[in-house]
Amino acid sequence: MYAQMVDTGVERLRTAQELEGDERAFQERIDAGVRIEPQDWMPETYRKTLVRQISQHAHSEIVGMLPEGNWITRAPSLQRKATLLAKVQDEGGHGLYLYAAAETLGVSRDDLIEALHSGKAKYSSIFNYPTLTWADIGAIGWLVDGAAIINQIPLCRCSYGPYGRAMVRVCKEESFHQRQGFDIMAKLAAGTQAQKRMAQDALNRWWWPAVMMFGPPDGESVHGAQSAAWKIKLHGNDDLRQKFIDQTVPQADLIGLTIPDPALSLNAETGHHEIGPIDWDEFYRVVKGDGPCNRERLATRVEAWEKGAWVREAAMAHAMKQRNAA
């Protein structure tokens, strides 16, 4: 999702009986639904997993400003431009809330950003795809933010207090983004032939990457099981993905667009939509840094950081001077 394939640093999930002392007391609190707060004791592996997950989430918000930012100067109307600006501004805010939540775990934001820039930390695979037309902005809002909401609503109840509270704020704003994106797609689909073709083309290119955002199938993953035991991941990848598909397919029908999957069918017994095979090779390629825009996205972030160094230093020097003069 916005945080995909988070390494928990554990090899095997231990049962409650195998845990001792602080760790056992910790797991009992989690099982009882008690929120963990920054000053509480927590296992090092829990702390590290959360740092990985929350920072990956924060990085996704920040890198996610780039594909959409690409169309700000070219938005087709002033109203579309203003709402896109507001949305990208929201993403910056989400990054801020999330970095702040990660910092309660004893890491510094500069270190997290350094990990992103050196390629050590990841961000969501979805932001490594290019925005080639205006319709892509609609597809991102509708599909990508729609998928984000499905993942983030359960995270509001996750075991780590600061992360859950950040998610409450984020979710409120994401629903604005999704509606905005869906509106762009609906209007294009109801427009001229050329506009409808543009919307369909965007759906064709974003559908599978959006489906892949939920990460590889669960089951064998020890990390998924550990995250579930710690209640920092409340539903499996496949469940969330299914929810996304069941929610999105009728929306596409409604505006007269076609999901680019010839195998897609509604199972009348289960009531779920079944999809064709997912290209996991592509997913792993993108996660490992070899997607269409990985290099460009990272280079843009690093350039902004390096070229902005003198401004950050000037601000700091000015603040020092003011303090000394006071």
């Binding site: 801020l96 702040a100 704020r169 230093e313 303090r323």
Partner: protein, 94 residues
Amino acid sequence: MMTEWPLWEVFIRSSHGLAHKHVGSLRAVDAEMALGNARDVYTRRNEGMSIWVVKAADIVASQPGDKDALFDPARSKVYRHPTFYNLPNGVKHM
């Protein structure tokens, strides 16, 4: 010189709120920038009427380990609550 910008905690009193409530934190070089950023990030949709920013380093928090010593003494003192008294049925507004 490349030191990290200090961390600030942000408290907002909403238009209907009686008290300032902690809403999050941010990094800024000084109080003025912290206030400006808090305005942009936390009150963009009319969430607040008043903002306080406090350097995180200036906040002292109670320790979870001290919970019993700090809060236990309050538990056995029912006489601090008005509900301790039974009033006759005829008494109103007391």
